[in-house]
Symmetry: D2
Subunit: 473 residues, 4 copies
């Protein structure tokens, strides 16, 4: 609906030793990760070495019901996935976990990230006679692991070998007949962490998944680390650790991750409060009230208000009843598309000088409408502040900032953008401060979408559409 | 999900003179009113004196799709309704608008309120051979209007006569073959207001419905007033105005109405900010942070924080992806039912003295869980503040506070409640201050659920279940 | 799909004394009656004087699933209904059983037939202040029974009194808090019979419903009879019996009823075999093979073949997989709408002189296509024989022969029709023989659609559309 | 529902040169082939070298609606498939056409048959690092074609080479970016034929598919033949023709194929009439009436009756309204599972000596119930005649006769079976006559399920369950 950058995925895996229902645990964990991908989802259960999977386009709430969850059966292990697909895609077929069979048995894989050498790997595989059912990175990864598995003595060794071929970002969980294995790329672009509940271990993209199911966060998977859980407990392969400089995506703190998560040591909410405070230092303004665009601008708005001692206020009511079957107003309708979802509270802004905080501007279309709504509601001045630097470069590591054509900051100056969206002033967070948001995190950050300094060598976008057989849902 | 008092309905009606799509306008208006009733909804269109209606159990988003909306056809008039049904009920059959045929033609009726003399009216009608398809007040009202219509020269005169028989609360919109008519009971228990878009008039339970569709709030319907819209424009019958002391439900300001609505002259958001400020004056506490229970405790939390100069903060992340098909965790699951929906942000509360604001306590079960979650997240102290007085008496005027058995405040002292929910202290807003929240409103308020002082003579609850033929959805 | 006359309804009722599941029994009975109405259906259960009903547009198979059936609960009594609605109608709202509440409690009613004085009764009721939710005869009947119930001591006396006001055809089952009552109009237009299973009694439109559930046919309800089943067993009120000459619809034997049913003493299959034999006597022809249009022309084709000693053969394969969601071919498609459903077997007809038997011709469109398909498949001659006389007059007694405009026989001679449909010859069954088909039946027959001799005084069609509030499904 | 042998698949493909809607043509063609597989279905469209597919569990009628058909887009080529899956299977994932991508582009494949060397081929592929998403033969075939494609200059050459590796039965249609290609195994187990409509060519498992869409049957694909359709027209590769003795499945004529189809030169209906006549010669009996079990026993019953000059009659009414969502009666219900679907006509059998014809007996359970129903309806004698020899051996060529445990004829003598099912006498068609049914067909027949003489070397069943990752629908 809104003009936002999207994360491509969230992953979860559990190895249960307490006799609990792993399908239910995965279902509830995926609810906590739903913000990382709303296009499709899936759950795979391993019951005595046989994997059963269900996946489809839609939210967790829509895809799974009691009967479907029950049909997955019981088991000791499960992996789950939520996915936001950059188009073009096949919602149902590209839904993960991907489940395949190879000479050593079943394998389920759920991944978050983007391989920068997808095309090269696929071409090599195709030339050896491989066939592809999807355009998913996970199918490439499954092939690479399978080929290594032919001449290695364990699945974890096969994964370790395969990682030498994989370039770009990935944080995946693999479920084999007897093991649950997580791996994170050596640069650690995407988060991945380990939790525990009684005698059971689990992996998740974010710690909030553990809160949902009464588990405790243990630690993050390190960049390059492979973590194996099986009947012998938990152990780790660190061959790929510290082989490359880390580059955690900083936008996880600004927008992707949930505020109640702790990512690689830093509280996401605290990072956003800091973003608001830095913004206030960089771009202060005399104003009567600070408001945030729900939901992702709220935290920074509170920080901005605290830093300057201006009142924080609720600026908008967001309609929480609009679901995926909502009928979009047509041009012929007088009804206002944005306003149905986000209505300003007149008594808060009428006659006031308003600071409006949002986490980003992509194309600027929504920002323009929101500023206009505030003015219609009587705001005297509207000063927009953005809690990250301007997007200037495409991302090749798992988000959908894929084209400079769509990015308003590539085409206009900040003054021109302010004029375009109708704001009295506009301020972005600086690159200097954006890397200070997650102060407790020991990793370096990827800021390539702001700076163009890519942590991997000259990546190019893989045009997956050329490989596409369209499989309708 | 949560332990809340429910409003029973929201109504909308439009008489279009601009050639716009009245079905679409009603659809979008009902989205704005969805918080007033989530059990069933319906839209009726009047096309050249023929009324077509669609209604069903479910949210507006789930009940209506493009084909259904199109099947209603085009017309100049429409009425819409959202309903929360107190059980026992028939979701589909009790959905409104009710549409009936009588000797003068069709009539659609959408009502918000509760007749206190339902049983007496129904018995009288049954003894004259009437049959009933529903247990809805609207069917009684339809009969009363129909019987009066036999010997009056207009539908508005029939409504005016019928109002002499109706006791209790009602705010209804009636659509006849050629007119759209709104009526509000003489005490004005439930809100009802008038909007305008170009040359078209409309009625709604709350002004936020007008914002959604680009219309402007004109004024409230007065207690006792009948407002008629037809081809001659808009006019009013005031026979029943000022015949009884007004008693607008004060809980509309505390919880029912949307913060961006203006009800009978007062901003709902402002009323809630005031509630927070009054609470701070009545029950101050030394604390580090003030947080609100989403969504309805947020406004008062901001007010409380402002009054005492304590930091307001985001205390919880509310999962917005949990829809009506969400599978409730079983006892056997370790998953925590409340936590899946509401997760505290540890970095906000850990080691802090926390003031927690909510709008009400009904049974206390949710409050207890929320306090526990805060303590688990590390809160040093939790001081609970409630932005209304304790519920002590049943409501007979259109909400579901129907039994003293369920009300914790009937059974325990405030200290006992504090102990029960695990709070370090607990403070409720006083009755003296609750009537000052909507300071701009000229009407008196009904506070009977707090005081037991009922504005109508000794009302008793109508046990509608005795009339029930169950009609499954 | 095909150009056929439709019956309007099938009814079923059961009073169980054996502790069996009455909802299941009604579900399976309605399957046997599905041919009498495919537009909507419903089941109402009486559990300890409370009636629960579920009804909707669609086939029994589509409307009911396990959960819905279970939601109806257990009880001693049930009534069920299948309906074919003549347009205009409201599929969901006009679905029966109709369930209403009146001063003496609940009442469910399921009816088959058509009141010829609907308008007069409705006007009288409306002038006394009645409101109507439907345009169904059942609502009129419910009102008439309710008004009589005010001053009679039992529901059966109220029904007996009400029958003095009802004109036309009706065969209904009423379920009151404690009784299950069937009534058939004094002329007996529509069938209604009594069955038994262990200690339980039941009513059904046709005896095939009893076969489905392991029950035994006992006897038919007599024209004018009221049969009451309650805790005291079964008894009968015969006040209205023999007050009018009987006039059972003869088309029940030709097309409406199922061949395995026995209606008022005559086997439907035997009646159709006889129709074929009479046709052979009236319109013999030299031919090589006799085939029938599936399914309703098959029985008469066998009779025709037997009478003349010509080989009976399978002429067509009917596609049994085409359900209600089948996508009709567009004009642009080359696909043949009729042929997808009915494909001739070339080896049967190629080079042959074919006698083609069908039960009726309404507009002639389907007949024309079928004859053409046979010629395309190589038939040398096609002689069409129809197992009833030509439709010349509208029916006012519960079928949808409602307009002479659509009836080809009103506009053309038999020779012209033969030419129109492309047949080498065409022969209809005579009126003399049509009344001899059900030779074992003691009642007289209504043949008014062939002769115009109406058994009731100058009936006129009730244009129900003038009463219609459209209630979309 | 009934105790029957199932065919595993039906295939269709079209190359359109007339600008018609190939998705619609395939949809209507699949209706005609639905009897060959009711578990899942799919349609793939090739629009300018991009393939779009939709497939799911369910009947054609349930899986496809207007929106889905439209979403497939327009194109010149399409392939369609209906599938009956032998368990265990994944309805949605194993649905065909299978669509994959390889180094030369997209390929869609729809197959009918069963590879007898599945395990050997799969093992070889797995050992080279292949991964499998399904347990379908089509995935093996796709791999074999792909591997050959790496070093051949055309897809047809790759198919020709791949056929050297494939053992067992297959009749498939492959759609490549620019060609539509059909191939039939050298023994011709399963039917496959060529049709034409204006300038467009098509392939189908049976000729009845052509009738549905106004196309004309041209000829059968020969055993071993590869037929290519592209922009240059139609041509054929006969490398594999006449390399092995033909062995067309004779059960296609007895049960699988539709009576209005012509398979390899013989009319299916005529073959069944002959089966009835042969049966009458082999097992005559003095009787009053001959009836068939609907639908597949009807043709042979007519033949039997003609041969002996006994009256053929309709013995049963089959309920045509029972769909896939029908709720099966529980043991607790008195309702009779078979009778709800098949009710005898008492007037036809009461007091008569009845010959009952069916096409086969598998386990004997249904036969027993049917004989009992006839006796309950008053039949004096019931003589059962079966229009094929007894099933004694498993089939490895694409039907689900997979275990001798289930086959009653493996365990009991004919007299014992007669006693078991309650028949007065029982006669099966002889093996001598079964091969004479399709007298016009030039091919030899596979009768291995009756004789154990397998046309391929000692085939063994592939237990695909060991490869299964369960992918729920």
């Amino acid at each position: 609906m809104f003009d936002k950058i999207h994360e491509e995925c969230g992953v979860f895996g559990i190895y249960d030793n307490d006799g609990h229902d792993v399908a239910a645990a995965t279902y509830y964990a995926l609810f906590a990760l739903q913000h990382r991908g709303q296009e499709s989802c899936g759950i795979a259960i391993n019951d005595a070495r046989t994997i059963t999977v269900y996946r489809d386009g839609g939210l967790v709430n829509d895809v799974f019901d009691k009967d479907i969850l029950a049909s997955l059966g019981k088991g000791k292990m499960a992996v789950g996935h939520v996915r936001y697909g950059t188009s073009p895609s096949n919602k149902r077929v590209d839904a993960q976990p991907l489940v395949v069979n190879h000479v050593k048995g079943c394998m389920a894989i759920a991944n978050n990230g983007s391989l920068t050498n997808y095309s090269q790997l696929r071409e090599k595989l195709e030339l050896s006679g491989s066939i592809f059912h999807t355009t998913s990175d996970s199918e490439i990864i499954a092939y690479e692991i399978t080929r290594e598995r032919l001449h290695t003595s364990s699945i974890e060794d096969a994964i370790c070998n395969a990682m030498y071929h994989l370039e770009g970002s990935y944080s995946f969980v693999v479920m084999s007949p007897a093991k649950l294995i997580a791996a994170r790329d050596p640069r650690g672009f995407r988060p991945l962490c380990i939790g525990k509940r009684n005698n059971s271990y689990m992996f998740a993209s974010e710690s909030c998944a553990f809160d949902n199911i009464g588990a405790t966060f243990i630690r993050d998977v390190m960049p390059g680390e492979i973590v194996i859980i099986d009947e012998n407990g938990i152990r780790s392969i660190t061959t790929h650790c510290n082989t490359k400089p880390s580059s955690l995506c900083v936008f996880e703190f600004i927008y992707f991750a949930r505020p109640d998560s702790v990512v690689d040591g830093s509280s996401v909410h605290t990072a956003r409060i800091r973003a608001g405070r830095f913004l206030a230092q960089e771009h202060p303004v005399e104003a009567d009230v600070v408001i945030g665009v729900p939901d992702s601008g709220i935290d920074a708005a509170i920080g901005y208000a605290q830093e300057l001692g201006i009142d924080y206020e609720l600026g908008f009511i967001k309609n929480k009843y609009i679901g995926r079957t909502f009928i979009q107003p047509t041009q012929a309708d007088r009804e206002d598309k944005v306003r149905i979802k986000l209505n300003p509270i007149s008594s808060v802004v009428a006659g006031k000088r308003v600071v409006l905080i949002d986490d980003s501007i992509v194309r600027g279309t929504t920002s323009k409408q929101i500023v206009k709504m505030l003015r219609d509601a009587g705001a005297k001045e509207v000063h927009m502040r953005i809690s990250c630097p301007p997007f200037m470069f495409p991302c090749f590591y798992g988000t959908d900032i894929d084209s400079q054509d769509k990015l308003i900051a590539c085409k206009y100056s900040i003054e021109e953008i302010a004029e375009h969206i109708g704001a009295d002033s506009l301020g972005y967070l600086s690159i200097e401060n954006v890397v200070k948001l997650a102060a407790e995190t020991k990793l370096n950050f990827c800021t390539s979408c702001f700076t163009g300094n890519y942590p991997t060598e000259s990546p190019t976008s893989t045009v997956k559409s050329k490989y596409l057989c369209k499989i309708s849902e």
